[in-house]
């Protein structure tokens, strides 16, 4: 199979899944519509009708990790091609990536020491 045909197949799977879901929805719709009744569409909060809109500025306490993750994650972009040729290149590759990872690890250690690795 050519690579383009492979991508076509993946696209086909995506479209097919959407089709499956849509037909399920259509079937459910054919069985009946949800009845509009008072109180039913209010988000369920354990017996009280919740009233405030909850879409407010949410405090994600893990933002210290998130900042480090944004940068640290990038390392993966380099590691995959490296891993593929690792055996072929040999020791140089190990040293090369060793230096790269050591540099990144320093950043991690710095973040750790500054308290980025905790709930803020």
């Amino acid at each position: 199979m050519s690579t383009l045909a492979q991508y076509g197949l993946l696209l086909g799977l995506t479209v097919g899944t959407i089709g499956l879901v849509l037909s399920l929805y259509a079937l459910a719709r054919a069985i009946g519509k949800a009845r509009t009744e008072s109180g039913k569409d209010v988000p369920a909060t354990a017996g009280q009708l919740s009233r405030d809109p909850v879409w407010v500025r949410y405090h994600a306490r893990y933002y210290g990790y998130a900042l480090l993750f944004l940068a640290f994650d990038m390392e993966m972009a380099y590691m995959y091609p490296w891993a593929v040729v690792y055996k072929q290149v040999g020791l140089v590759a190990l040293l090369d990536m060793g230096v790269f990872l050591a540099i990144l690890f320093l950043g991690l250690l710095y973040g750790w020491s500054q308290g980025a690795l905790r709930r803020q």
Binding site: V21, Y62, A66, A93, W112, R119
Partner: protein
């Protein structure tokens, strides 16, 4: 043809996962229960919350299912039984499964409910914890196989399965895979006792059915990925390759589903700090060890 067969197998596998999950939660092994549950969900109303982000609310279950199905597409059951043997298969699994996060964020934000929203953002924190532990062990696997092809990865384990060759990587990957599938004890995002269902709380009827289906496919896909990366895929004596794949996948699924029953849910703070303070250094160590081993044995 292969695609059709594999999709049927995937559906069948998801059904078996549902049976296993029902067994793990209710203690009863009933083959018919998931079928009834699915039909019942189809027949029940699917309530749309007031003032939702309608697009998110509708797209989330579908996206979850799509991402799981696409990830399954590059997993081989036998050397030839694979939907598409992508040249970057090992990376593609990651790429597809990241959209689980997107789906959960959408499902959390969509209904405009407090429990769901907290559940959705919690999963982002969970991703930040587990993501590196998915990709780094896979890198080590790729180092040994010298290829991102999933079939090649299985072939590379002919002599020795990766679970023996790089046990640290296996443990990290397994834990991270459970976290990715938000299985207990990592079910922070759908926690029943803490968030009354979290991101699932507002879904009902057919939308819930699609959401659950996506989750089941996700679990079996991750189990299959574990088998491919660490348990030698279809390899094994006596039995035909497909049988080995099936046995291993179901065994891994059962362990994934059962393990969480015997411990309380992890704290989000602990998950994050343990993954970053122990997990990532261990994953780096694993890469280094595998690097040395690969050089020594080549």
């Amino acid at each position: 043809m292969t695609t059709a067969v594999l999709l049927l197998l995937l559906a069948f596998g998801a059904y078996l996962v549902a049976v296993l999950e029902n067994w793990a939660t209710s203690g009863r092994f009933q083959l018919a229960t998931p079928a009834f549950s699915a039909l019942a969900l189809l027949g029940r109303e699917s309530v749309l919350p007031r003032k939702p982000d309608r697009i998110f609310f509708e797209v989330a279950p579908t996206l979850l299912l799509i991402s799981a199905v696409l990830a399954a597409a590059v997993i081989p059951l036998t050397p030839n039984l694979i939907i598409t043997d992508l040249a970057t298969g090992a990376l593609f699994i990651n790429a597809a499964l990241v959209y689980v996060l997107v789906a959960l964020i959408m499902a959390g934000w969509g209904p405009n409910g407090a429990y769901a929203m907290i559940g959705g953002w919690r999963f982002l924190g969970q991703l930040i914890a587990y993501a590196m532990l998915i990709v780094m062990p896979i890198t080590a696997v790729v180092m040994r196989a010298e290829s991102l092809l999933t079939t090649q990865i299985v072939v590379s384990q002919a002599g020795l399965w990766n679970i023996v060759y790089q046990p640290v990587g296996f443990v990290l990957f397994f834990i991270a895979a459970m976290a990715l599938a938000f299985l207990p004890p990592f079910d922070l995002t759908t926690a029943k006792g803490e968030l009354a269902g979290g991101v699932e709380a507002e879904y009902s009827g057919v939308r819930l059915a699609v959401f659950r289906l996506g989750r089941l496919v996700l679990i079996i896909t991750l189990a299959a990925a574990t088998v491919v990366f660490y348990l030698g895929g279809w390899q094994g004596p006596w039995l035909p390759p497909w049988a080995w794949s099936a046995i291993k996948i179901l065994a891994v699924t059962a362990i994934m589903l059962l393990a969480g029953r015997y411990m309380p849910r992890i704290r989000e703070a602990n998950l994050l700090s343990w993954c970053w303070m122990f997990g990532i250094p261990l994953a780096l160590l694993n890469i280094f060890l595998v690097g040395v081993l690969v050089l020594v044995f080549s």
